[in-house]
């Protein structure tokens, strides 16, 4: 158990950066290739979460608690964003009977 704890605490910082980059890229690709509005929102959540994890890793690495306070603010922001966004999705579905983002193309003009 002691060696396991030691092994866990000796993860290099680069591995955290790599993991968060991969998760963030999955989120970006999800936003780009899907048209379902709910899936796009889930991808945005994934991106926010990967940034949170990276901020926490940096905060622990530097021994500075400011990063964790910042993560807390990002979480509050994500909660607000999800509430408003899902309300917008429900409203879109009620008006157009689909969650396809393609039906919103009249917003272009």
């Amino acid at each position: 158990m002691e060696t396991l704890t030691n092994n866990i605490q000796s993860i290099p910082l680069n591995h955290y950066i790599l993991l968060c980059t991969i998760v963030f890229s999955i989120g970006v690709i999800g936003v780009l290739i899907r048209r379902n509005a709910i899936v796009i929102f889930m991808s945005i959540e994934l991106m926010l979460n990967s940034v949170n994890l990276l901020l926490t890793a940096f905060s622990v690495y530097r021994g500075d608690a400011t990063g964790q306070v910042f993560v807390f603010f990002i979480m509050a922001l994500a909660a607000a964003e999800v509430a408003v966004g899902l309300a917008i999705i429900v409203m879109i579905y009620r008006n157009t009977n689909s969650v396809d983002t393609g039906v919103l193309n009249r917003l272009k003009w």
Binding site: L32, L77, I89
Partner: protein, 141 residues
């Protein structure tokens, strides 16, 4: 439907990461806010609007290909930038009570009191906005 359940699993692994880094406050907040509130909200919305497989919108293969290429370029850029600096010291916790509730609370309510209050206003306005958007328009109903 399944993707939301797997997203819950992913968030749970993130919570375990926070525990491993001894950020206990963030682990608990992540557990409650993300897995408890946000994912339940997603599940409710999905069940409320009741999608079936035929209504699932699809993008053309070209757009998908371009999207994957763009995301892959992003990933490669960051990884290449990561290889450029070869510092890879382990993440060690110097101060064992860094992520505890007591320490974070002191910082949050001393240095970051104003952003904390502003975030409460943000949450309040988001709640009002969500209720305003999701309720039926009385003119059309």
């Amino acid at each position: 439907m399944h993707s939301i359940l797997y997203l819950i699993l992913t968030f749970f692994t993130f919570t375990i990461h926070y525990i491993l880094m001894n950020a206990q406050f963030l682990a608990i907040v992540n557990f409650i806010v993300y897995m408890g509130a946000i994912l339940v909200l997603f599940l409710y919305t999905l069940m409320l609007i009741n999608l079936n497989k035929e209504a699932e919108p699809r993008k053309s293969n070209l757009v998908k290909f371009i999207g994957v290429i763009a995301g892959g370029c992003f990933l490669i850029t960051i990884v290449a930038a990561l290889k450029a600096f070869r510092v890879s010291e382990p993440v060690v916790l110097h101060d064992p009570n860094l992520g505890l509730v007591k320490n974070l609370g002191k910082i949050l309510f001393n240095e970051y009191l104003l952003p904390f209050e502003v975030s409460s206003i943000l949450l309040l306005s988001a709640m009002v906005g969500a209720v305003l958007l999701a309720t039926k328009d009385p003119k059309t109903a």
